[in-house]
Symmetry: C2
Subunit: 581 residues, 2 copies
């Protein structure tokens, strides 16, 4: 079974020494949130998660969810653990205090998300979607809707879902067919089928609140005719008590490659009663309030699995004796190829953690900074970073899961060792909340172009400033500058070529996102190397500097090959007839 210990030293290093999480306390909203408070809460979350949630990961995978006659049974132990988790305040950690939350920084909640997703990513989806649903109603709901649903969603006592996908409408939401017909009393009757609905049916919570994308009878076709609705599993009486069962029923659950402990449901809305959230035909915008934060959350899931893969592979490699290494070592960590794999994993997960936490800090700043200009800039960073966090962390989770299996050798393929589960759990992360191809298109089509290209320009300037400064870590500053130049040139190529031939840009989008992410990680490794230079712990210092060296010499240079690919026109390949494939 994979074991899990929260990487607390690493987390504290990133928060305190690299990102200066204490700076959040300069904003009035978080005046009392000292680094000590954050550190203490992380340690406390770690204890609960390691002891209560992580042990359910392998059994939950083996047992899975069961569907019987409309009802879903989650794996043994999940219900008690979920109750403990929300009652301890972790679901509502960064939710508004007005609605049951703790009002702590979003950054902190992302750290806790990482821990929870390492421990048990299937379990993490229950609180994860709940927070998403909370945010969507908070952003666009009426006062009455907020009063009705948010207090119990905000703590996690009730859970939430996000009902978008239909069989014919996955990446393409324009094809959504579910209908919402006005009842004349302010409510609507929803009719239609939704698939792939995470946490759509279970009995872990007294009520489930569905946030549903549907179409009004007189709405235009396509995405411009979609609206959002809140549809509770049980209607809520005026006094807040639970009322009648609403006809939204689970008709099946999916049998999946992984995340077996998370129920993935098909829901049938048979004239279920719902209320519109926000204005008519603004459904896509309303959904995206939830979607952007959901994408960052999926990135945290990826980060969590990267960490789980890495720490288990390292532990196994330190323990497993097999042959004698060239350097005389008796355990496989001294075999050069095993060490190469482990350093790849370390360089990836530690670099990605800075990207993910920094994105969390930008979210906090974009919401709470008193200066609108600072808020606006922070929002730019959130926009830019979201596809990077989502796609890079999740692609890496599949890669690192596969590397962990490889480090374990044949034993890695055996279920009881627990690392093959990481690979199986990870793949969905590249698919849901917008496939990673869609993230790449978001980066190329939207984020590169936003405000006349202001956003990437800011990023390039920031990295350049950091990497040209007088620095004792030239071994990474130099290749970072070279990679940055190539990336900048490639971004300009994309900004131009997209206008004349979007297929060229689309063809290179995934490679571009990876190149961009590697430059971002280079920036992170530069900052980590600087911070580590003065670290008191000699072993930690040595490990950080060596891993930075590995990243600088072996991973960062990949940027050039990726950029060359992006700048290679692909239009001819797009003309190949589909029939001859």
């Amino acid at each position: 079974m994979a074991s899990y210990k929260a990487p607390l030293r690493e987390i504290h290093f990133v928060l305190d020494d690299v990102l200066n999480v204490g700076s959040l306390a300069q904003m009035p909203a978080f005046a009392e949130v000292t680094p000590e408070l954050i550190g203490g809460l992380v340690d406390e979350a770690a204890k609960l998660i390691e002891n209560q949630i992580a042990p359910l990961n392998a059994p939950g995978d083996a047992q899975g969810c069961k569907f019987d006659n409309g009802e879903v049974k989650v794996p043994d132990g999940f219900a008690d653990a979920y109750k403990l988790y929300w009652q301890s305040g972790w679901v509502g950690l960064c939710n508004d205090t007005e609605f049951g939350g703790q009002g702590l920084p979003y950054t902190l909640s992302k750290v806790v998300d990482e821990l929870l997703c390492s421990a048990n990513v299937a379990f993490a989806l229950y609180p994860g979607l709940t927070v998403g649903c909370f945010e969507a109603i908070l952003a666009n709901g009426s006062d009455e809707q907020k009063k009705t649903y948010l207090p119990k969603l905000g703590t996690g006592e009730w859970t939430g879902t996000m009902c978008m996908t239909e069989p014919q409408a996955g990446s393409d939401l324009a094809a959504v067919k579910t209908k919402a017909t006005p009842n004349g009393d302010g409510s609507y009757s929803l009719e239609g089928g939704k698939i792939f609905i995470t946490s759509g049916q279970h009995t872990m919570a007294e009520n489930i609140i569905h946030f549903v994308l549907a179409r009004l009878p007189d709405s235009p076709p396509g995405v411009k005719g979609l609206s959002t609705f809140v549809v509770p599993k049980f209607l809520v009486n005026a006094d807040g008590s639970i009322g009648a069962r609403n006809p939204v029923n689970c008709v099946a659950i999916e049998h999946k490659m992984g995340i077996h402990g998370s129920c993935t449901t098909s829901l049938q809305f048979d004239n279920a009663k719902g209320w519109m959230v926000g204005a008519p035909n603004t459904g896509i915008q309303n959904m995206f309030v939830m979607m952007n934060l959901a994408r960052i959350l999926v990135g945290m899931q990826g980060l969590g699995l990267c960490e789980l893969a890495t720490q288990n592979a390292i532990a196994y490699a330190k323990d497993r004796k097999q042959g004698k290494a060239f350097n005389g070592g008796a355990t496989i960590i001294d075999h050069p190829d095993v060490r190469r794999m482990l350093l790849t994993m370390k360089a990836t997960v530690e670099g990605a953690r800075v990207l993910a936490y920094e994105t969390g800090m930008y979210v906090d700043i974009s919401h709470h900074h008193p200066d609108p200009a600072v808020r606006e800039e922070a929002q730019d960073w959130v926009e830019l970073n979201t596809p990077l966090v989502k796609a890079f962390c999740t692609d890496s989770a599949v890669d690192l899961g596969s590397l962990a299996v490889q480090v374990y050798g044949g034993h890695g393929f055996i279920r009881e060792h627990g690392v093959e589960q990481i690979m199986r759990d990870a793949k969905i992360l590249c698919l849901y909340e917008g496939t990673n191809g869609i993230q790449a298109m978001d980066l190329v089509r939207r984020k590169l172009m936003l405000h006349g290209g202001r956003v990437p320009k800011r990023f390039f300037a920031k990295v350049r400033a950091e990497s040209t400064a007088d620095t004792p870590v030239g071994f990474i500053a130099k290749p970072l500058r070279e990679a940055l130049e190539d990336l900048e040139k490639t971004a300009a190529w994309l900004q131009e070529s997209f206008k004349s031939n979007p297929d060229d840009a689309g063809f290179g989008a995934v490679d571009f996102l990876r190149a961009f992410s590697l430059v971002y990680l280079g920036f992170n490794w530069l900052r980590m190397a600087k911070a580590a230079t003065n670290h008191a712990d000699a072993g930690f210092r040595e490990s950080k500097l060596n891993t930075a060296q590995f990243f600088a010499s072996r991973m960062l240079p990949q940027v050039h090959a990726l950029c060359a690919n992006v700048r290679t026109p692909a239009s001819a390949l797009m003309q190949l007839s589909a029939e001859v494939f």
Copy 2:
């Protein structure tokens, strides 16, 4: 459910137009083996495999093998299908006619292996190990042993195993502990436990013949003290009839990530009766007779899964409507990122097929050519190609399995669509018969050095000759020459650095193997592009030339980044203490 149609047009193109399989008939052993005969047999195999074996793939995965009280139950349908398969002559296709085989070219058997592994890789392991066991006894067994075991192993009526691994002895066979004590009558008593034994127990065949690595009481420690033994499940009477049950028992089966239809057993030898095969303490050499061909077979498993992933992804992408592409297309094959994925898959599997089949032809030539110099050169190619076929085809199977899931989007994660099974089945291929890290070390430590570096030198000269010839396909010849130069320089660097610092070489081995494989695929795509230029079918021609273009411009250039990595010294990283990881 994934569907499977044998890619017959592609196979015939490679055999006839690219590799000239008809040249095998110039050797007396295959004087009657015309391209028509080979083609006809491939078509016949395809029919049987598509109709009888492929439909068992998904149900076999879902049902798996069951262990009950020492006995293993394989999935429903496997026993009948196996009987049909061996009785139709497919197990013994290239086995010696003296022992039940058909004496046809090994090349043909590799083509059939590809088909069988696409259709059902778990099923393919039953005949696969049987042929390996046959070959091992054929190479070193006594006349009596051959007479006793080979006629029924040669047809596949009995199945075979390869018993090497023990809990403490995986990659490191020096640690094998199973003991063989002489009984004084020419037989031995074997005592010990073996794990990960494919097809170790089942009732599909009347008898199972185990080929076992064990240690004589007075043998030296390490690999030099290992010998090989034949240990039948049932002793065989002098008249060939089945005798007493030998105490080799299955004590457990493994629960695995994939290949659920293949039983992976733990076997306990409780003074089981066996007979030594070959001379004492030559066990490793005897095992390697089987091991080299087993590695090529694993490569075919990888190739088969690459094909299955690719053809299903293409079919899905042609059918799935989702959004509107820039070029106006309504199905997702017209989205540039989907097309990029499909072309990556096509370029990989079609290029790898030429590598794999060509290796098969070298095996035939090395065995049957009348001229010893030609045989020797062919054996050089087999030595060089084996790690490439094994590692590249299997790494690609994982990558292409993952890409297939990505093309399917969220649906790919659902078991009923069948593509997630490809990813799960594929990962073991990177681990067994020598992990892909070990393949890379075999390439760097042995194959680069063999006969003073004669083998890679021959390869470089051959690719250079082909790529500098006057050619209408300069679009690939040029990048191929550039990649070749880089590879050659890197090989020279490795040949030198290995002497002074083997850790440097070891650290870059996996990247080097991939670079080498990509150059080999470049060579294949060059030959395919030339052959396709005059192909009668315009669609086929267009598809081949476009895919070659894709490979030349987007995959082949990866060689430079990989080679740069290899030539970066890593010794400092090897000095990092394991404790600080």
